[in-house]
C-alpha cells in the first residue's frame, strides 16, 4: 500500500509517525482524503478546506513533484512513496 513520509515538523499531527501506510491509492487525492479521515490535523496542514494544496507545501509522488504530475490526480501505485516537504519560504 502507498506510504506517506511525514516531515518532522508535522509528525505531531500524525501521532508521532514518520511513515503512514495508507490503505487506499489510485490518486494522490484519494490518499490525502484517507489521510484526512484518519489524521485530520495533518491533512489540513497539506490542503486547505477547499481541497487545494497549500502554496508552500510540496508533495512528491515517487520523487516527482505532484504539481507537474497531475496535481491531486497524480497516479499513485500500490507501492508508491509520497513525500510531504515544506517548501523553501519564509523570512
Amino acid at each position: 500500500m502507498p506510504t506517506v513520509l511525514v516531515p518532522g515538523v508535522l509528525r505531531g499531527d500524525a501521532g508521532g509517525a514518520a511513515r503512514l501506510e495508507i490503505a487506499v491509492g489510485g490518486t494522490l487525492r484519494a490518499v490525502l482524503d484517507e489521510v484526512g479521515a484518519r489524521w485530520p490535523r495533518l491533512e489540513r496542514r497539506i490542503r486547505d478546506e477547499g481541497g487545494g494544496l497549500r502554496r508552500y507545501v510540496n508533495v512528491y509522488v515517487d520523487g516527482a513533484d505532484c504539481r507537474w504530475a497531475g496535481g491531486l490526480d497524480a497516479p499513485v501505485t500500490a507501492r508508491a512513496e509520497i513525500q510531504v516537504l515544506p517548501s523553501v519560504a519564509g523570512g
Partner: protein, 361 residues
C-alpha cells in the same frame, strides 16, 4: 494581583506576567512554534482565563489554538477550528481577530478572518461556524483589500444584548447586526473614504479599528484610514474627533476598561508617511471622548522613533488604575500602570509585534 500580557508577534506568542502591580515583568519564551500570531484573546469569563490565539503558519495555513492553563499547554481541535463550507469556494487565509462574546453567552467566541468573514463558536472557541448572514451580504463582492489583506479585524459583541454585534473590516467599513447575525447593515455615515470617487459612500471605508466605550455601550471610537471618529448612537452616525490630534492617521484605538470617554491612540504622520508624528514615540489620550487629546510620553523612548503600532498592538487591562500597553514593529512592548501617565519597557527585541492583550488573573 498578577497581570498577564499576551504579545502576538510575527514569530510566536510571548506571555509576560507581573506580580507587583505591573512594576516589573517576566517574559516567557516564544510559544506556538514561531508562527505569526495576528490575534490573541484572554477570555476572562472563566475561572482560569482561556487564552485563544490565531496561529498563522506560512506553510501550513491558519488555525486557532487555546490554552486553559495560561499557556503551559495548547490545544487544537482535530477538525479544523474554522473553515469555510464547501459552497463558499474559498479558504481561510488568516485569523485576524478573536473576540469572546458577551456575559450572557459564556461559550460564544467570535473570530474574524481574511477573506472578510465572521465565524462564531459556541464551544468556547474550539470550533467555529461561518456567520452566513454577513458572508452572503450583497455588498461582499465589493469589499476590497488593503495592503494587509481583506479582513474582518474588529468584532464588538454588545455587552447587554447578544443579538447585537458590530464588526469592522478593511476595506468595507463597519457593519452591524441586531438579530444575532441573520442580517447586517453598513454603518458608516460620516466616515470618510478619501480614496474613493465618492468620499462619503455607504460602505467601502478602510476602517482600521473600533473600540467601545466601557461605560456607554452605544458609544464607539473609530480609527480610520485618515480620520478619527466617535459615534454616540450605537454606530448609526459618526463625527470627527480628530481636531486636536497631531494627525488623523493611525491604526490602533482603545478604550478605558471602566471610565467613560477615556481613549488612547498612536497617531502616525499620514498614509504616505507611516511614522510616528515628529518621529516621537507618543501615545495620545483623551478623557473627554475625543473632544481634546494630550500626548503621553513619560518613560517612552526619546530618540527618533520610526516603528508603527499596528491595529491590535495596543490594549488596556482591567486593573485599577487601568494599564495601557502597546507594541511596535521594532519588537518593543511598553506598559503604563497609571493610565498612560508614565511608561516602562516590558521587553525589547521581539519579532514585529502584531497584537497585545492584557488582563488581571
Amino acid at each position: 494581583m498578577t497581570v498577564l500580557l499576551a504579545i502576538g508577534t510575527r514569530k510566536g506568542l510571548f506571555l509576560a506576567t507581573s506580580d507587583d502591580d505591573r512594576r516589573s515583568w517576566r517574559v516567557g519564551d516564544a510559544q506556538l512554534g514561531g508562527h505569526a500570531i495576528y490575534a490573541v484573546a484572554i477570555d476572562s469569563r472563566r475561572t482560569t482565563p482561556r487564552l485563544l490565539a490565531g496561529v498563522d503558519s506560512s506553510h501550513f495555513g491558519p488555525s486557532v489554538a487555546l490554552s486553559d492553563d495560561l499557556g503551559a499547554t495548547w490545544q487544537e481541535s482535530d477538525i479544523a477550528p474554522l473553515a469555510f463550507p464547501a459552497d463558499a469556494g474559498v479558504a481561510v487565509e488568516r485569523v485576524w481577530q478573536i473576540a469572546p462574546g458577551g456575559p450572557a453567552e459564556p461559550d460564544v467566541v467570535y473570530a474574524g478572518t481574511q477573506p472578510s468573514a465572521l465565524f462564531r463558536s459556541t464551544d468556547g472557541g474550539r470550533t467555529y461556524e461561518l456567520v452566513r448572514g454577513l458572508w452572503e451580504h450583497p455588498h461582499r463582492t465589493q469589499w476590497g483589500a488593503g495592503f494587509g489583506g481583506q479582513a474582518i479585524h474588529t468584532i464588538l459583541p454588545h455587552p447587554d444584548d447578544p443579538r447585537r454585534v458590530l464588526v469592522a473590516m478593511s476595506t468595507g467599513g463597519v457593519y452591524r447586526t441586531a438579530d444575532g447575525g441573520a442580517s447586517w447593515a453598513p454603518s458608516n455615515t460620516g466616515v470618510k473614504a478619501y480614496f474613493l470617487p465618492d468620499p462619503w459612500p455607504e460602505f467601502g471605508q478602510c476602517v482600521h479599528k473600533v473600540a467601545r466605550d466601557a461605560a456607554d455601550p452605544d458609544r464607539y471610537y473609530l480609527q480610520n484610514h485618515h480620520g478619527v471618529y466617535r459615534s454616540s448612537d450605537g454606530g448609526s452616525t459618526w463625527e470627527s474627533i480628530a481636531d486636536t490630534l497631531p494627525s488623523d492617521f493611525g491604526f490602533a484605538i482603545v478604550a478605558h476598561p471602566r471610565r467613560a470617554g477615556v481613549i488612547w491612540n498612536f497617531p502616525l504622520t499620514a498614509d504616505g508617511e507611516r511614522h510616528p508624528v515628529d518621529r516621537r514615540c507618543r501615545v495620545f489620550r483623551s478623557t473627554d471622548a475625543g473632544a481634546t487629546w494630550s500626548p503621553q510620553a513619560s518613560g517612552l523612548p526619546e530618540d527618533p522613533f520610526y516603528p508603527v503600532v499596528l491595529r491590535d498592538a495596543m490594549a488596556t487591562d482591567d486593573a485599577d488604575p487601568a494599564g495601557v500597553y502597546f507594541g511596535a514593529r521594532s519588537g518593543e512592548v511598553f506598559a503604563s500602570r497609571d493610565e498612560g501617565e508614565t511608561w516602562s519597557t516590558v521587553v525589547a527585541h521581539l519579532p514585529d509585534v502584531l497584537c497585545v492583550r492584557a488582563a488581571s488573573l
